[in-house]
Subunit: 179 residues, 2 copies
């Protein structure tokens, strides 16, 4: 059996380190093979990350956008939460435009699942993304967990489980590793 | 608590897709922050992968080496197995030289754990790598599974579990995704 498919839906989920990094690695593979890649980072607000600095500087094949307002802390007040929510909704609209543009071989919706899990994006909107995926564009979606309907639609799902993390030894986030 | 550490040992293990890709993404982060990266790919023999083509072409900050003889099939005959073993042993020597050179902020030993699991490399040799790691060099080691002694020494371990893979739907490896 050799099923031809023009558009893969790939999910990187779980609590472990490696979801965003795996998506970035996939971007490297795609551009190495001549593709164009669009990276939309939800939740995140840092444009001084290694990925941003590198992709922005070194290659015209990657368009990278930081669309969030930063890590959403527990007990965030209602006003701040509203700002996060607005950013996510604006980001979703932007992502949809990028997807239907048919310009890209790979689109990465980084932490989109977290925006969904925080209630900023509806399940129907999440699923709809897989409906509008043009032929020839793969999508990678990351975040802690995905609803069953999305898991059902995905071709590849890897759950990244944290066995151990250096945070828990009191080692802070390292430049060039975490960001 | 803020423990300072100059050299992180990071393991990406498990059966799921994303181990090598996560290591490649870490390379992007490191070079984006101005680092130098060395990627040693064990077992693998393909130098037409997206990562090879991209890193080789676009940046002088990454040295990437393909050191294996290709996927080791079950029931490989003794002669071929010996060739794989020799390549892994030569690769290990090369990796050690690169590590102690102190030239790199990040060294990636891709599929080294598979070379260990196939018996090409001893446990003591695997552990020794963490002993010779110079201050200022992080290492990422990938492969299906790691011995307990290495897990104990690692700062960060993510196990990538395959929930679903498009191979199992009869979809072949995709250029720009798997390689």
């Amino acid at each position: 059996m050799n099923t031809k498919v023009k558009s893969l839906i790939i999910l990187y989920t779980g609590t472990g380190k490696g979801k965003t990094t795996a998506a970035l690695g996939a971007a490297v593979r795609s551009i190495g093979q001549g593709g164009r890649v669009c990276i939309c980072q939800f939740i995140k607000s840092n444009d001084k990350t290694g990925e941003f600095l590198f992709f922005d500087k070194f290659t015209k094949q990657v368009d990278i956008y930081v669309l969030g307002k930063g890590f959403v802390r527990p007990k965030t007040d209602k006003n701040s939460l509203e700002k996060h929510c607005q950013a996510a909704r604006k980001g979703l609209k932007f992502l949809r435009e990028k997807l239907v543009s048919e310009k890209y071989q790979l689109v990465i919706a980084d932490e989109l699942l977290d925006a969904y899990n925080m209630g900023f994006i509806d399940k129907s909107e999440l699923i709809e993304i897989t409906d509008i995926l043009p032929s020839g564009t793969h999508i990678i979606i990351t975040g802690r967990s995905a609803p069953q309907e999305l898991l059902d639609r995905a071709h590849t799902v890897t759950q990244m489980n944290e066995i151990k993390h250096h945070y828990n030894m009191g080692i802070l986030a390292q430049k060039g590793i975490e960001f």
